[in-house]
Symmetry: C2
Subunit: 440 residues, 2 copies
């Protein structure tokens, strides 16, 4: 197998490792390290200005106190932090309570699986739902690289459904489902991020949410609803697909990385679907996800769960309130970035410059269209010659198309950096040697 | 896809979910909950008597102080707990330092990947190394269910190599490799647990370790060395395969769950193999594992890493010293259990009773052979009628064979429980209605 002792050929490793999607974050990190003076609109980095390490201690104390109040002995309290726990998690009741308080999602705690970030929740759902080579999962395109990467690792084919300006059109999805069926394939689920999508920043209008649920019923599909940026937006939120879901068509995937803190790596799946086994036994899809999880990470760290639980207790489950300052920060950054873009590229000037962008009401991301191929070479030139970094949108298309887009993340920069960054970006975009031109 | 709205048929979910190995822990948990008065030799549960929740706070403080001493600004210290981190981990230098101090394993920090427990490390290694349908991984049989489960999730075929009384015979492994090659398959790696193996309790003698490394070189195999119970044993340890490894044949898999605490869920892989890409570029296998990890759990929780780092700092990386009391506890429990077994089944009596067991020098597990089929039905009867629980060894054979064994875990019981438990076990084994007999 090895080329020489201690050497392996990459061609003999799993095929996913040759896929550029698995390397996107590495390339971004390298560019960022190589040009430390550049202003970076690249990482979807949560803002940490309101966080203090003492909060970790407070949350942990609060949770331990809560367990003692509920009558647990000192030994049991110690175990709740020290020991392994159930694969499905220790704090399912608190998460279910928070979903009800904050989102009107009314599900039993048994339908919740606590995961190592939302990424693991995605991975579990894909693994559970796809059983054969003809099974496919549909996704908006562009989509979060995490779903593409997870699918690659599991040799699962993702069928992209192109977003139009305002996002996913259910008719496009229905056509894609029909096409796949005609090819003999079985569409099992569709992956969407209805709120402030990563990467395109779009949110799904209410009527589209309802249409999508109807479609899922009609076409017998599950919906994987990924929701990390829900609380990074406006106070007025549209209902989640899960809260509108009457027929348990939706597996809701959640994250505490953009609300509490990413360093805990706690996310969850809500999977209240019934699973019927051949003998007629009935269980929950959540139980199946937990079984899979037990063979990947065994259980989410008790320590992380304890800290998240302490934070949920601090706000009676109302994360939206807990997160109000951070959320306001994100909104302000988004508004300010949009204002800077408008100043730099006034409406009269945009068509000439070949530039346009959307105007998300919240979240981390703006989709900026540019008049050249925004690839890794362009990114390198932008970082080196103009001191500004961004993410090529091409990273987010499962089949690699979509080369003229840039993702701008606004989540953690100061006004000063945003202003200067947009100015540099403008110079780069309008530079005579813009990539895509001859000689560039 | 669904049987009715909100219903899924298990037959349409991934095939692993129909495999009993994915359910073993569930069944044990159910039995344990149903018979709370029974004495349980079942779970491989770490002892927590020396743990106090205040240690978590101390470790975290120590690590934060360490970062400040190293010159990090308060913002950087905050980020080190709050933010996402590199997929390969934040504390690789401390882990590499500890491996050198404690184990004589001399590897660069870049070859370490910090994982969510050792289970994730196994999963990453399997995913990286197996690329096609003809690739197979060999394993001792019996083996830890975690490797079987991970392989099932990835549709990877495990080829079992039966242990004999004292463990794996390299000649048996070499024969299995030859057989697989003759069938057109490509053996990529072999999974072993050389120290106090779960489930059979055996340790690999030094000459077998050397022979295994020679074999790996001759047959061009990687060795996945799983080492969770290394410090749960005697003070005199045999060298790890990794420390004997001159040709980078060994991927070493480690865990802090049996030394620091399972609630942190921190493990690691050491993968210092070179990966050569088609263009001639060279990197480390660790980099490839980190890429895979970024699509499963993104990164190991910064919080867990910080607490583990604080503990490693407390003992200058010498976990063996840090863990001395717990290790002594495990040894004492093991010795006492063996003594009770000898008393209950004196040598003269063993053959008649059809019972025999091995005598591990450390670790958590004893392999007890019984004269009947030790299946779930027998376990239920043992719990219900005799008040004693154990783990059927059949769980640990990838192809389901091996029905006459029982795994006894001695890791967390008191002397009183061990004495009473062994007495009940004796009654169960000698009961006239022992399963396997007519009418049982």
């Amino acid at each position: 197998m090895t080329a020489a002792p201690g050497e392996l050929r990459r061609s003999e490793l799993h095929s996913s490792l040759a896929d550029p999607v698995m390397d996107t974050m590495n390339f971004l990190n390298e560019i960022t390290m190589r040009y430390p003076e550049a202003i970076s609109f690249a990482p979807g980095r949560p803002y940490d200005g309101f966080f203090d390490t003492t909060q970790v201690f407070d949350h942990l104390h609060r949770y331990l106190g809560h367990l003692a109040e509920r009558g647990l002995s000192p030994d049991q309290v110690r175990e709740s932090v020290f020991q392994y726990g159930p694969a499905a998690g220790r704090i399912r009741d608190l998460i279910a309570g928070s979903l009800l308080a904050d989102e009107g999602i009314d599900v039993p705690p048994e339908s919740v699986v606590v995961t190592v970030g939302c990424q693991e929740a995605m991975f579990l759902a894909l693994r559970a739902l796809v059983s054969g080579r003809d099974d496919v999962v549909l996704t908006t395109s562009p989509c979060y690289v995490g779903i593409t990467g997870a699918a690659r690792l599991l040799d699962i084919e993702l069928v992209p459904v192109r977003e139009r300006g305002s996002g996913l059109f259910p008719a496009d999805l229905e056509n894609a489902v029909a096409r796949e069926r005609a090819l003999g394939r079985r569409p099992k689920a569709v992956y969407v991020m209805p709120d402030h999508s990563n990467p395109s920043g779009v949110s799904m209008p209410l009527d589209v949410r309802r249409d999508l649920l109807d479609l899922a019923g009609r076409q017998d599909l599950l919906i994987l609803e990924d929701s990390p940026y829900r609380l990074a937006g406006t106070a007025r939120r549209l209902p989640t697909l899960k809260s509108l879901d009457r027929d348990r068509r939706v597996v809701h995937l959640g994250s505490y990385s953009k609300t509490l803190f990413p360093g805990a790596r706690v996310g969850f799946a809500v999977a209240d679907q019934t699973v019927v086994d051949p003998a007629g036994g009935r269980g929950l899809l959540a139980d199946e996800l937990a079984k899979i999880k037990s063979m990947i990470t065994v259980n989410t760290p008790s320590l992380s769960q304890a800290v998240v639980a302490g934070a949920l207790l601090a706000c009676d489950g109302r994360l939206s309130e807990f997160n109000r300052d951070t959320s306001a920060y994100y909104q302000d950054s988004m508004r300010f970035t949009l204002k800077c873009l408008e100043r730099r590229f006034p409406a009269s000037h945009r068509a000439t410059a070949g530039v346009r962008w959307n105007a998300p009401a919240g979240g981390f991301f703006i989709f900026l269209r540019v008049p050249f191929h925004a690839d890794n070479a362009a990114l390198k030139r932008s970082a080196q010659d103009f001191g500004v970094i961004w993410t090529p949108m091409s990273y987010f298309y499962p089949r690699g198309e979509g080369g003229h887009g840039i993702r701008l993340s606004t989540s953690y920069l100061t006004h000063e950096d945003i202003e200067e960054g947009v100015s540099r970006l403008g110079e780069f975009i309008e530079s005579p040697m813009a990539p895509g031109e001859p000689g560039a």
